[in-house]
Structure formats: C-alpha cells, structure tokens
Symmetry: C2
Subunit: 529 residues, 2 copies
C-alpha cells in the first residue's frame, strides 16, 4: 500500500472511518442538532412540520442571466437519506462536546432519543422531478414529518440540490449556445473536490453529452471521453521524436479513434500539418481519422483555418473539438465569429459549425459568474392539535417574505403549447377545475390578472409524491429519462425566457386564496409586534 | 432502513460500491488512461518523468484581487493516493469500453499491466507545505516517477489542491478584512455537494476559527458552532408562543450558551427587546448571556443600534454575530460604516468592533467572484538513457510557456524580515551560497535586477520532500501546525501584497541559469518547426 502514514493525525474523508463520520448523518449544521434537542426538551419532538425547498433567483452571471433553471440532485439526496442514521460512532463526538461552562452540550436522554428516533423514517416528500425546468419561489421539494428530523435534513438536502440544479442550468445554457453540437464535460480538476462527481452528473442532466471523468461516467452508465494532453506531445519532443512522432504513436495505438491535440507548438504551422500527414497515413491503411482538438489561441479563427486545411487535404468530415475556457457567452461569440470569418477563407460556415464539438471544463463545473444557487429550506406549516397552522417569516425585503402553509404548484400552458406561468395555490384549490384563474404577483399588490379558460390549454400539477413515511414510492429514473424531461420542458419554454442575456421573466403567481392567506398573516404578525 | 430503493437504477456515490468506483483510482480523466496505454504500448511505461503543479494567477474576484494564495489540500491528495489502486472492479468497466469500430479501447495486456504496475508506489513528491503563502508560477508540488502513473495522478491532484488553495486564500482575506475577530464558516449548504468537506477544512486552514458543519469539524478535531435558525422562532409563533417564547425556550435549554437570532420579525422592535428580556431573566438566574445574531437588513446600522440597546440594558459584553452574504469587501464596508455611524448613536466604535463575530457561508465556500484556481500540472522533464531532458511547451501567450526542467524554489527575505521574492533556479544552483543573486522577470526580457548579499537577509528553500517511492516521509501535520504556518507567513508578507484591492505584485523571478535554459529551449523548438 502506498503512502501508509506513520501517524493518523488529521482526518480526511478518503479514509472510510472519517468519511462516514463527516458525510453520514452528521453531514449537517450544528444548529440543526441544538434545535433538535430544544424540540425534544420542549415536547415538540413529535410535532409535525412542513418545510419547502425553493430558490429565490435564477443565477445571475453578471453580464448574463438565466431565465430558468433545470432541477437536479433529488435522487442523490434521497440516497443520502437512505444511508444516514445516528450510529454509536456518530453519537460519540456529540457526547464529547462541551459548552462554555464545561457541561455537555447534548444530554444523554437526547442522545438516546437520537439513537432511537433520529431517523428519516417519519418523513414524507413531494418534489418536482429532476430534469424539469423550474422557476424561482416555486416549492421544488416539500418535506413533511416530525419537526426535529425534518429540520435536520435541511443542510444535506440543500447541499445536494443547490449545486446540481446550478450546474444542470449552466449546462443547458452552454448546450443551447453551442447549437446542440456534441458537448463534453471536462471539469473534474477544477471542481470542489469530490463535489465534482455531482457536478458531472448535473452537467449530463442539463446538456453535456459525455464527460471526461472516468469513474462517475461508468457509474452513470456512460462512456467517458478523452484522447491525449499536451504532455504526450512534450514527451515525444523530449525523446527526440517531435510532435509528428507523438501523433504517429497515437494513430498506431488508436487507429480508428484518432483525434489529435494540435496546439502544443504551433497550431497552423505544426499541429494541423502533422495531423494531416498522420491522417493520410491512417487512410492509406484503411482507417478513418476522427479529428483534431484546438485548446488555445483564437479558437474561431483557428477553427476556420484548420477546417480549410483539412478540407483541402481531403478530410472535410473530421471533427474539430474546441476547448479552453468556454462558456455560453464565449461559445456564442466564437460561433458568430466563425460565421463572419469562414466565407473570407472560402470555408462554408454552416458546414464548419456542423463538424464542431466542445470540451467545457472550469466554467461549467463551477458555474462561472454565479457559483451558488440561493436555494433555501423554510418552515411553512406546523401541526397543532391535529390541525395545520401556516407559518410565516416576515422580511424587510417583501420578496423574501414566505408564502405560508401547504400549497399546490401548477404549470399553465397556452394554446401554442408553451408554458406561460407557474402558479402557487392553496392545497384545496384545484386549478384543473377552475373556469378562470385569478393570478397575483407574489409581492406587488397592484399586479393582478385573470386568465380565461380559453387562454389556458393545459394545467399540470408539478409536485409528485416521492417518499411516504421514509419509503421511496418509485425507483430512481434513469439518466436518460431525466434528460428527456429536460428536453421536453425546454421545448415548451418560450424563446424569450431562454435568451442568454436579459431573458424575459417567466411568471410565477399566487392564486387568490394563497394571496389572501399571505396578506392576512403578514398583517397579523406585524400587529402582534 | 429508510428509502430502500425498489430498483438500483442510477448510481450515486452515497452507495459504497458506486463511491469506490467513482472516487477511487478512476477519479481521473479518460485521457490519462488512453495516454497510459500509449506509453505502455510504446515501451515508455518505465520512462521516468517529472511533473510540476503550479497556478498561473492569483484569484481575481472582479472588483478585487488576491495578491497571494494560502497553499492547502496536499494531505488529502496524499490520502487519496494511499487508497487508490486498480482493483478488479475498476478494470471491469475499462474492459467493457468500446471504440468507434466496436473493438475494446483498452487491450487485455494493458489492463493486466494496470493491475500489476498501475500504482503510485514508484512516485516521489516534493511540495511546499500546506498553510504556506504561495505565489503564481512557483512549483508547489513536484511529482517524479514512471510516466503513466505520474501522468494519471494529474486529475485527482489538481482536484484536491486547486479547490482547497482557493478557499484557504479566500478565508485568509475575509479573516484580514474582519480584523481578526472570530470567523465562523457556515457554507455547507451552498458547497459543491461533498466538496463541502474540503471547503470547510480549507476555510479552517486559511482563517476561519470554526465551522458549523458537524461531522467534518469533529473529524478535524474542532467543535462545530451553531445555535438556532429562523424556523425555530417560526415554530413558536405558529404554536402561539411568539418570538419571546422561542427565546425563553432556547435560554432554558442552553442557559450558559444563549445566543439568539433576532431578525425573524423585526430586529429592533421585536428581536433585540425580546432578547434583552430573556438575557435579564438569565442573569437573575445566575447565567451570563452570550449574545445575538443579525442575519438580514443593514448589518452595520443594526449592529450599532443593537449594541446601544444591549449597552443600555447592561449587556455591554455580549457578542454580536453578523451573517448574510458576507465576504471581504462587504465586511470591510460594514466595519467602515460602523466606525462612521457608531459615534452618532453614542456607541464606542472600537468597543463595538471588539464584540463582533462573523458567520460567512456561500461567499467563502464558493470563493465569490472567482470560483476556481487555475492550477495546472505540467511535464517539465523526461529521463532518457539515464539523463534528464527538460521538456517545454511553447505558447503564443509568453507567460504560458513553461519553465523547463528540474528546479529549486527559494524565498528571499529582506532586512525587515519581509519576503521580497520567490526565485526559481536550476537544481544545481545553490542560492544560499551565491554572493549576489541575478533575477530575471519570467517573461519580459528587459526586466532584470541584481540583489546584493546585503539586501537579502534570509534565503529559504521552499520545497520539502514528502514522499519517496510511494512512502510518506513524515506524519501529516495537525490543523494547528498548518494554521501556524499561515499566520507566520502572513506576518512576513508585505502589507501592499496583502491589500484587498489592487494589491502590489509579489515578485517571482528566474535565476540566470533557468532563464538561459528557457530561452535556449524556446529557440530550439521554434527553429525545429
């Protein structure tokens, strides 16, 4: 075994023992535990509560903004719940923690309770499925169950859902900007450590076709993609065989999968000519070369010039992979430049665009410009003597004041088949039966509209029950099923909402009933102060 | 067991089997494996190579920039290496992968070789220790060993080092901006899934005192911190006991650790008065209340007003914790505003600053403004017939052209004891013996200076050997040892380099010898094209 450590000082999640402590049931914030003890102590440990997970704003990348998000992460959050429970090794560090006066923070009877009742077996969850297009302030995940454990779930749930939704959204944008050509995810080396696995999955949900990451690709049932790095060319240069020697070696080992990175020395003077020479040798031996990758310089210009050289050498169908700091805006500019520049070199721009593929690393896996989604998990109702009481939190910023209580989520489609609004209503309001639907802006008192039956071609209820009393109600969907949902939803989204820069704001509205409940609770709360 | 899944469709790293496939030896990019097979096939599998890990630019957050980085992540990368090897279950998916013509991508003899020789046992590593202040283009980690496995390490090494160094750097900046007051890391819910564990560790290395994350804090030997959320107040409001009831419950359960979140309804009209009432009750019972937390609104203004109320109520020593989208610039502005606004309310600004603490979440764990460090891993030398041949990669951007070959790294201190430059030299140049040191700008031919013996008070060699032929040479340092290095190095750094906005550029220079080698190799490579 490599690196056997002379001393076990300093833990790390690579070691099984440390990993299971750091990322089991204690993968949470301390205040979830101090609150749990308080609820236990105050006789509220069996009080049922309802929490909602939603995000407040679509990612704003600074000079461009998302008009929608792609929901992702739920299945992994559910998997985490399936494994997490308080074992003796989780209780042991809690037992050791001391407060300011030296007394234990957590009492023995509470730790006992955790070991008996500190499970997610009492929780029920409804959620909007992964892959669906989702919007701000719409409950995406609704959790109901005994207060302490429904609360404790917050950290892990947000940790899984915020990041995957962020990345699935970015991938959808890059995929759109690349006009649907093959998109490869390359970012593992720049991810937040093992969060990279979740990032790869989310990218594949949102729009990436494949990833370079080997292990997680296989886990997800996809073939990882990759050819060679600059270092391979450097090795052959250092041993005196140069770039041509490197390319020949690659062609020899991978004669039917030969895609060459051509920018180690000079793309147009060395890389592309050497690649063409090797492609000719391959063709003489009966193999079809695959293409080249450009990883530096003016990618648009180099793509046009390389395409011309490959065309003239008789390889008009080889792929040209672009990589190096790509994102949706960079790609948009590159494609626009190619359309402008290609004709000047006698290259058919449409044909060239059709042979492109993209490798996108850092800017996808870190969601360049906005590296976090602001998803939150808020208490909306508490059960009291068998009746649900809506809960509210007032904020000076009106848009941060919660929509209280149980609710249902509807998506309305217009007669073009496009989604026109998401509507939050009371549990007892059935929008599928209403003749006309009265919609309120969630904050602005003055904004109100009424949709007639004719204006709404379809009304879809978005939340699905996924867990009842700790038991999953259905198998996990496959990656391909999740991707299909994304494709279908994006087709039904208005082009204005999908615009990369300054998108049209998708409407999220409240029904009359929910609007009234919210106003009444705000007034009552303020009057009580 | 909760959530037992009716179907095993769709893998996730929560399950041990999937995790060990996704994050064991296959936690790498596909091209590392295709290159490894090529080296094996071409008789280069035992050729020794040297790679260097370094970053090119300090983080640029847009409107502010880092003038230095804090090195972090090495121990976890070494831990990963200690566990990673090709087991039958890792080889199985490789065996199944097919190329374009349907033939296996990886041949049986190569997979055999991987199972026998695909280990890190042949690698030796020198590195700059964690916690040290580090600068662009300086080799931080130097890996030597057989080409295929030294290459394969790239992805996992960068994955661990890039992110932790990024976050340790951000934490150091926030800590400085907060003038050294207690800094709590709160970001797990906004991290990249389980990358959050690494983020917490890095934050603790760079400047956070504690974290709210329970499991990883215990793994690292620190007590996690936290009190309660808005939801606890909401619960008591919903059951008719209001904010005051919530605060009383908290004080009852945690009489000696009572820190109350006061902004659920209205900070100055409800939260602080209710907190003061409960603090008075606590005091009558002989307990010392701890303080309050402000999590929304104008934090500076509310801190001043709350401080005044607490002072007047006889609680001048209670802590005021600030949280909500804090980072180094926001904190800087808040403290400046407090200094300006406090006197107007008759509050002593210095005293108020002295009772502050900060909870920093999203913007620390995602390194707001620049969510990735651009660390790379580059081939710098290859052994050929027993002799090391320097390797180079030319780039159109001069600053991206590699510094070739083996080298040593020195830090020079001036007579004030401040670090004045990092110097890269040839392996055979011993700067500790040179009378005067001739320094070249790494790129600009015109910039050259000579340091006399008098100008340099101390010369420190920065790289330490940490692994020889796969065996670690020392136990991991403790978190406290790593933090001490950070504190010492930051003290020896010029204030201009530590400036939050537009910092002075720290000098990283080449010796005469390395400069000449680089120029000769650039010329030779270009002439060969």
């Amino acid at each position: 075994m490599v690196g056997a450590c002379p001393d076990e000082e300093g833990g790390s999640p690579v070691r099984e023992r440390d990993r299971s402590l750091a990322e089991g049931i204690l993968y949470t914030d301390q205040y979830q535990l101090t609150m749990a003890q308080l609820y236990y102590r105050m006789g509220l440990s069996r009080t049922r509560a309802q929490f909602e997970h939603f995000f407040r704003r679509c990612p704003d990348y600074g000079d461009h903004q998302a008009g929608y998000c792609v929901n992702a992460g739920l299945e992994w959050a559910l998997d985490w719940m399936a494994e997490a429970r308080f074992r003796p090794e989780d209780l042991s560090p809690l037992r050791g923690q001391r407060g300011r006066t030296g007394a234990p923070v957590f009492a023995e009877d509470f730790l006992d309770w955790l070991s008996r009742e500190g499970t997610f077996e009492g929780l029920s969850i409804a959620a909007i499925p992964e892959g669906r297009v989702v919007h701000p302030n719409v409950p995406l995940t609704v959790v109901q169950g005994p207060l302490p454990m429904a609360q404790l779930l917050e950290t892990a749930l947000l940790n899984h859902l915020n990041y995957q939704t962020l990345i699935a959204t970015k991938a959808a944008r890059i995929h759109a900007s690349g006009r649907g050509r093959l998109l490869l995810e390359f970012g593992l080396r720049r991810a937040q450590e093992r969060g990279g696995s979740a990032g790869v999955r989310a990218a594949l949900i949102g729009g990436a076709d494949f990833s370079s990451a080997v292990g997680i690709s296989h886990v997800l049932g996809l073939a990882p993609k990759g050819t060679h790095a600059h270092s391979m060319v450097q090795v052959f240069m250092a041993v005196g065989e140069g770039e041509l020697g490197a390319f020949r070696a690659y062609a020899e080992v991978y004669p039917d999968d030969c895609l060459l990175l051509v920018d180690t020395i000079n793309t147009l003077e060395s890389g592309v000519p050497n690649a063409i020479r090797v492609f000719e040798e391959l063709r003489r031996k009966g193999h079809a070369p695959v293409g080249i990758r450009l990883d530096s310089g003016d990618l648009a210009h180099l793509a046009v010039r390389s395409a011309k050289m490959l065309d003239e050498a008789g390889f008009p169908d080889t792929t040209i992979v672009l990589s190096n700091n790509l994102d949706e805006l960079v790609l948009w500019q590159i494609l626009a430049q190619i359309e402008e520049e290609a004709p000047r070199y006698g290259v058919d721009a449409e044909r060239l665009l059709g042979r492109l593929a993209y490798g996108v690393g850092t800017r996808l896996i870190t969601s360049r410009g906005q590296a976090a989604l602001d998803g939150v998990y808020k208490l909306v109702a508490v059960e009291r003597s068998g009746e649900w009481v809506p809960a509210i939190k007032i904020s000076e910023a009106a848009e941060k004041t919660l929509n209280p209580g149980h609710k249902r989520v509807w998506r309305l489609y217009d007669r073009r088949g496009k989604a026109t609004a998401d509507v939050l209503g009371l549990d007892e309001e059935d929008l599928s039966r209403m003749a006309e639907i009265s919609l309120h802006h969630p904050v602005d008192h003055g904004r109100h509209r009424v949709l007639s039956r004719d204006a709404v071609a379809e009304r879809e209820s978005l939340l699905e029950e996924v867990m009842r009393d700790g038991t999953l109600l259905r198998p996990h969907p496959t990656l391909e099923e999740i991707r299909d949902r994304r494709r279908r939803d994006l087709e039904r989204l208005d082009p204005g909402v999908k615009r990369l820069v300054n998108p049209h704001v998708y409407h999220v509205s409240l029904t009359d009933g929910l609007w009234r409940r919210k106003q009444e609770m705000i007034e009552a709360t303020i009057n009580r102060v």
